[in-house]
Amino acid sequence: MSTLVAASAGNVLVWIVWVVAVFSCLGSGIAVITFSNPFYSALALIGNLGSLAVMYLLLSAEFVAAAQVLVYAGAVVVMFLFVIAYVGPRRETPWSGGPSWQTVGAVGAAGALLVEIVVAVGMQANGSLHSDGRVGAAFGTPAWVGRVFLIDHLLAFEITSVVLLIAAVGGVILGSHTRRTA
């Protein structure tokens, strides 16, 4: 009985955390695309990534959560902020000039995609997306992820590393000061 109470108390706690995370996630997502100043957008993205990391933790993917914070928040967004600060303030007025056909089409297409995905998920939701409770204690730990990554998905790992290397080289070339053609 007491374990049941504890479980339901834990469940309520998880629900609360989840609701907060979802609201922060979606709210910051909307903030990313609505702020006129890119710096704010980037800051909002941090909030988004943080709340996503919380959701990953709820899904018992702790290593991915940590990697999310370390890679995205720690490196990617820092780079964004760096470049935004480097480029300097360039405010734009995204909502001026009334709705163009482009904007209308964009809203239509994105909305259609959204509705379709939600419908698709909803069609699956009554049943096959109901997950049972337990996963193994190792699920999501670094050792487990490492084993899956380096044994089952070694090729993906290698290809990813090559992609990163190519991107690094590309970044260096793009950012190099020598201008052969000008």
Binding site: V69, F82, A143
Partner: protein, 327 residues
């Protein structure tokens, strides 16, 4: 093994206060030590041997007017120091300082949070802490601040890579990202400073850069940038930045002790005291360096980070992995 949640909360409160106290007195120690090394006395007015100096500083900071530039962007300007200080303190939660005890049937662990990704979590929090510096400098709307925060940004991102690579050797030897496990393995073998000496050296350099200490203190180079990203800060907001820096330093020293000097292990079973002593010794080395070495130029700093430290760290990690596989 698990402990009741209320013990964790009590422990967290205690640890936070100890760390804050340590920060306060670290500032005093630094000034005293630097004074001695420069043939001065250092602060010696407040209390015997100046022991009340941190209290006096605190009172001064709290009472000082916290003004802000009129063009500053309000919310980020205020949040930035808080984020920095918060992440700095939070990172300490993962560092084990003792073996753990059982008191009256209650289990008390030797760390606040025992998670499988402890090491990554510390780095993740550290990388969040960077935002305090960047956002603070940017929100000040001041040239010096922006320059300072961009320097901080570049330097921290650069050296974070080497720092993370340098501990890979330890992770391979310890076969875990969980800090208590790494400490336990060292206790039963020998401190990883011996087999991972190169890793230790890289970690030390990376740590100096990550905490912006001399000789890598370019983000706050007074002669060039007034004070870097916190030029426009004053009062307790400035105090929070200072706090964040010093607590980062303490956390880093603690991490170094944990990873390379077998944490709380020592000849006698006095767990936490060993940990504190070792951490203080590392801190002393940091202060010592500050009085000894001149500052690098910025391009030298970058070149050192990318062209020397990073390759060395990579080779070290690879060689360690090969040796572990071979034996």
């Amino acid at each position: 093994m698990s402990e009741p949640w209320w013990i964790s909360i009590i422990k967290a409160v205690v640890i936070v206060n100890i760390v804050l106290g340590l920060f306060a007195y670290l500032t005093l120690i630094e000034r005293k030590v630097m004074g001695r090394m420069q043939l001065r006395y250092g602060p010696n007015r407040a209390g015997p041997y100046g022991l009340l100096q941190p209290i006096a500083d605190l009172v001064k900071l709290v009472r000082k007017e916290a003004f802000a530039p009129s063009s500053a962007i309000e919310l980020p300007y205020i949040l930035a120091p808080i984020v920095s200080a918060f992440t700095a303190i939070a990172a300490f939660a993962f560092i084990p300082w003792g073996p753990g005890w059982t008191v009256h049937g209650w289990r008390i662990n030797g760390e606040v949070a025992n998670v499988s990704i402890g090491l990554i979590a510390i780095f993740a929090l550290g990388s969040i802490g960077i935002y305090g510096f960047i956002v603070g400098g940017w929100a000040s709307e001041s040239k010096y601040s922006i320059l300072g925060s961009m320097r901080t940004c570049a330097q921290l991102v650069s050296y974070e890579v080497s720092l993370a690579l340098s501990v890979l050797g330890v992770v391979i030897l310890g076969r875990s990202l969980n800090l208590p496990e790494i400490v336990a393995r060292q206790g039963s073998w020998l401190p990883y400073a011996a087999p991972e000496f190169i890793g230790l050296v890289v970690f030390f350099f990376g740590g100096i850069a990550e905490t912006s200490r001399a000789p890598f203190d370019l983000p706050e180079a007074e002669q060039e940038l007034v004070a870097g990203y916190h030029t426009e800060y004053s009062g307790m907001r400035w105090g929070l930045f200072q706090m964040a820096e010093y607590i980062n330093l303490i956390t880093l020293s603690g991490l170094m002790v944990t990873l390379f000097f077998s944490g709380w292990h020592g000849p006698w079973d006095i767990g936490p005291i060993w940990f504190v002593l070792k951490t203080m010794a590392v801190l002393f080395v940091f202060i010592w360096l500050r009085t000894t070495l001149p500052r690098l130029r910025y391009d030298q700093l970058m070149r050192f980070g990318w062209k020397i430290l990073l390759p060395v760290a990579t080779v070290n990690a690879v060689v360690t992995a090969l040796l572990v596989v071979a034996f």
